[in-house]
Point group: C2
């Protein structure tokens, strides 16, 4: 209860440690490249080594839950250790879980990832609002009560997402608005109650898509309070750091820039240098 | 490889054991009513007792993953045992996970739940296509190769889902189609390659919403091959078995009718009778 809000902690990370977020994605092919088995032990070793390299070099990590879930309960036990090590090292953890459901089920997902003292306790998680932003009201409330954050998928970095995310709302006062814009608007409104300069509810806006084309008004994210943005799509998916300014404009000040495979491919020996180099390149582009 | 497709196995279940699916949802309040702790041990005990009662009375169970994930890796270990017991008892297991992501991440989710021999191996899982039906191409391929099934969220049973699911696709040859109708169409098309009378790719169409209002053409689900439907929303959420015929018409023959809280509230002593009674009521409405 005495803890700062997630938004406040994120703002402090931006100010002191920069905007880079290391994605912890133990793809089977990366495990092989790292000389690790495709097993729960392998993802544990991979995750811990990535976190060790990250702790002094970035302020945020984002484990991709799917690659741990792939190994069932043993993979989850590995993920618990990776998350705990990162948080113990003072790094914010965003669980990239993309969970979504209704009512008490989505509330249970929120509790799984955001409850203080829980085995999977993270600082924030990604959620999907296919069942409507109203469906995630309980995780939003839980995040607020617990000093945690949520990042709601709005415009994802994959091209196949366009048809759903640019579809137009029918009827009501938001007639004609895109699905992505509707989600943006609801998240911005939910942040409005927050007294901190940076809100605790964020949006996923991929760096490979145009906000304008998706009908999103980026200015609405400037606040106060400002709405943080989690931006995947750099490196392997094609976006460059030099795209950040044209893509996000002033919102750039509150963007979490996620890099995964482009850094992880450096292998266990090279990862620390790759993180430091990537963080330096990013800082230059944001200066 | 020699196994029948999921669609074939589901058709056999419909013919011999009926259409009722028991939702295994260990809500905290139900654990309390059952006299069980709100812990991994509690959800294990709850899940195993529900499965024991289900095995001779229904052909399908649907664990709600969120209530197990709530207890982290220990909750997942419990879920693995519950799934294995159900499958060992000859009951089809649909993991209600509502997973969604892109590329290799969503492929990893498919592998987690559908890989033969995997710790969480189920017969089918629910998935979300907020990132586009194209984003779930790999789990679709995996399901086909492994004799497994997928149920893609189209029109969910919660009222907050309407704005996203009835939004209109913009541009392209499907201009003006609803998001729900687009998903239905893509799933029906993906089933078309299937030689069995009942396809292995299904849709989630809640019993609390009108297919027509969501722009969905139910006739397209008749096939061949027919597209199975997972229908939540009965009991606690308000739909009645007598609504099935007006809601689904001829598609009724391929609807999985899910009931959770309305049965689970009978408690550990009453659940077997509650399942039998509910299955009987359903069979009468479908006759």
């Amino acid at each position: 209860m005495g803890d700062a809000s997630f938004g406040s902690r994120l703002a402090a990370v931006f100010a002191t440690r920069g905007h880079l977020c290391l994605g912890i994605d133990p793809h089977p092919y990366l495990l092989a490249e790292w000389g690790l088995p495709d097993s729960a032990d392998g993802v544990l070793d991979f995750g811990l080594r990535a976190v060790e390299a990250a702790v002094d070099r970035v302020g945020i990590v984002k484990p991709q839950v799917a690659f741990f879930e792939r190994h069932g309960s043993a993979g989850y036990a590995a993920l618990e250790k990776v998350i705990a090590r990162a948080r113990g090292g003072g790094v914010l953890v965003i669980a990239d879980a993309k969970r979504g459901d209704l009512g008490s089920s989505v509330e249970a997902y929120g509790q799984a990832w955001l409850s203080p003292g829980g085995a999977l306790e993270s600082d924030a998680m990604t959620v999907s609002a296919f069942q409507g932003v109203g469906s995630i009201a309980r995780p939003i409330a839980l995040a607020r009560e617990s000093g945690k954050g949520l990042f709601v998928l709005a415009a994802t970095s994959n091209p196949e997402g366009e048809s759903v995310q640019t579809a137009r709302i029918r009827g009501g006062e938001h007639e004609g608005r895109s699905v992505a814009a509707e989600i943006v608007s609801e998240v911005v409104n939910a942040n409005a109650a927050d007294a901190a300069p940076l809100g605790s509810l964020g949006l996923v806006l991929g760096a490979t898509v145009s906000a304008k084309q998706y009908g999103i008004d980026l200015e609405s994210l400037l606040g106060p309070p400002a709405t943080p943005v989690l931006a995947p799509g750099f490196g392997h998916q094609g976006a460059q750091f030099s795209d950040i300014r044209p893509l996000y404009g002033e919102v750039m000040a509150n963007v979490i820039v996620s890099a995964s495979r482009s850094v992880l491919k450096a292998g266990p020996q090279g990862i620390a240098d790759a993180i430091a180099r990537t963080a330096g390149e990013l800082a230059e582009c944001l200066a």
